[in-house]
Amino acid sequence: MAKIDSYDGITAPSAPYSFISLTSTGAGWAGETFIASQTYYITSVWFYLLRVNTGGILTVVVTTVNSATDKPTTTVLGSSTLDVSGISTGYSWVEVPFATPVKITKGTKYGVIAKHNITNVIKLGCTSSDAVYTNGHGVSTVNSGSTWTVISDVYFRVYGSYSPPSDQRYTKKLVAIAGNSLWYESVAGTMSELTASSGDIDTSGIVSIFEAYQKVMVCDISGFKVADFGNKKITTADLGLNPPHPGTVLTGDTSGAIMVVDYITNLDGNEACIIYGKKVNLNEFSSGETVTGTNDDETSVSFSTNAAEVGGPFWYDWTVFGGADGTHSDYGTMPSTAPLGCLYRGRAVIGGSPANPNQWYMSRQGCMFDFVFTAGDAQSAVAGNNADAGELGDILTALIPFKDDFLVFGCANTLWYLAGDPMAGGQLNELDLTTGMFGPQSWCFGDGGTLYFWGANGIYRTTIPGTPECISQMSLPSLVEDKNVSVSTHRITMIYDRIRVGILVCITRVEDGSNSNYWYSLKTGGFFPEVYPDECGAFSLSNYDSTDTTYRKLLIGCNDGYIRTFDEATKSDNVGATDEAIDSYVTFGPINLGKDKGEANIGSIDIVVAGGFTGGSKSDSNDIDYSVFTSLNAENLKEQLDAGSDPRISGVASISGPRGGTNRRTARGVYACIKLGNNTVAETWGMESLSFVINKHGKVK
């Protein structure tokens, strides 16, 4: 931490020219006002003082200053306390650290005020008059700050840092789109609408969003938008002769503020323009100042701002650089719409436009606003499609970047991948010509970079490059037929759950949110069917790497507009204002009770529910409902289960005693199934073990 603002021309143990005694609470406070020389965070305030008595607590506050009266206000920006027992009885510099740093802004006047709760314990050292320190005044009050008296300047030091004293150098913001508008996490845990986006997105069709350079690029079936979280904005009524280029460094002649240009709305000289850019220092552009810079072609930029710098987030049309009014094509031309998008090798990749659904387009590397396809250099914009020579190319359904190494093009009936950069020796290759990809969100990367996706015959996985393998083929052979999904009626979303180590596959009917989903456990290699309430039908999924661990979860964008997550401590599914029971069950079997299809009795079923005895250190399961079905025919058991037939034996296993549940009733048959489950709100279950006794009989006659 550095000393940034001060009047401290004195060294202990020198006696100050004068002093002021702090009197008891509310009666006698004193300190100094000062103009912040920089924008920074106050980490400690020092006074040159001594202790003449014992006891009490010294309090130091940072206040705002009334510009009209030039006196401190009662608005306290931060405060800190110090036990005075350690303070010397001779004059010395005493530091009062601020556990919570106080941010102050360059050019603004503040007060640092000392208080003590016992009269005449602390004396602050002062100079000879109020005129010594020219950036502020010594001040004191005897009525808790109602009125202040100017006194001789008080020796002070303000230490600070130019950033919060934290390891955190960035933050994450969740962005969600619903109902034709974009919402973002304004503070951790609170989603707010980006007001300007209201009604400016078409959510009736595919909407793709992706992060690029602290912005969220939005592609829908009506056009392109930008939600800009990183840039600052300045405006001018007269751009001057030369508009700035992408990457031009602009400097405010008065403020010293510096900005690297990212996007401007107009290329016409001497016309109004909005400039968005990345700030590289803390100084802020002011209204009416001259801003200058030099473009990469050595032309000079010079214009005057007509408003002070503004911070984001911003919402604006995603056009080519300077092309917001639609009259300029200096930076190329974007397709009118392309609802698929991603970031690959620093390029915006868009595709799937209705006019050319097989075509993809890439912006210039490092510039989302340059679509000059004819530049021809290694970073220039480029466009193409995926087909063998002479063919039209398959319809794009998904754009899937894998690091900066490969870009997979999911198509309606085929899969392709681009290795490297198309303008620097990259190659387009076939990944598979027997399966396509269902939709823009029906894929995810799992462990070790394996790509999982919904294809022609179910759920696939592949490396890139590699050969896609249908992993649902044996266990769920009729998956595609059973689900009968169509891109016009269903949305399939997939995500890797890195905490629970599995792939979540959500199949949602867009009309009403009804759904049937699969949890694919990467630990066991099994598919587990799941159904959620219609309100919870998944339309989008995201692994949110929030800097706040509370929100670092797998998030589900649901049918009813709420963002939900799986929670092990939650025993029901939230459906808005209420909770709904989870209808869960698992069936064991069919079990062949006797050899050579002989009959047997199944009986004395023993179910030990999870949790040990009631209470104790382990979490207890709720009750488990069980039922036993028997038949002479294995397939008939499935028919009984599907039809909801009455079981031969049923009961409830609970944790109340040493045994969860033992049932000594018997049921006779060749095959048997045992079904365990629970369908009660606010209940969950786990099983420790299941066993039973078989009493064999003869062959079926």
């Binding site: 619903a178 992706f210 602290q214 266990s475 066991t524 099994g526 159904v531 964008g557 507009g561 209808d583």
Partner: protein
Amino acid sequence: MRLIFPYKGSFNGTSFEIQPPNTSFHLKNVRPFDVLENRARGGQRPGLKKMYVDQISGDTNPITAMCSVTVII
């Protein structure tokens, strides 16, 4: 006879009489690792709870897309 939770999940690809070990032809909303102790003994899946109290768009409109953005502070 002791039965193990069908941790290999749903399997509908063989005859009913020879259901592969550790699989099930009839299950829903269960996972191989229970929510109580995260042990491979089977149980009900975790429940769904609201992560944010805010209803995106303020109405019952599906959330069609989500992502996150990194912002330097």
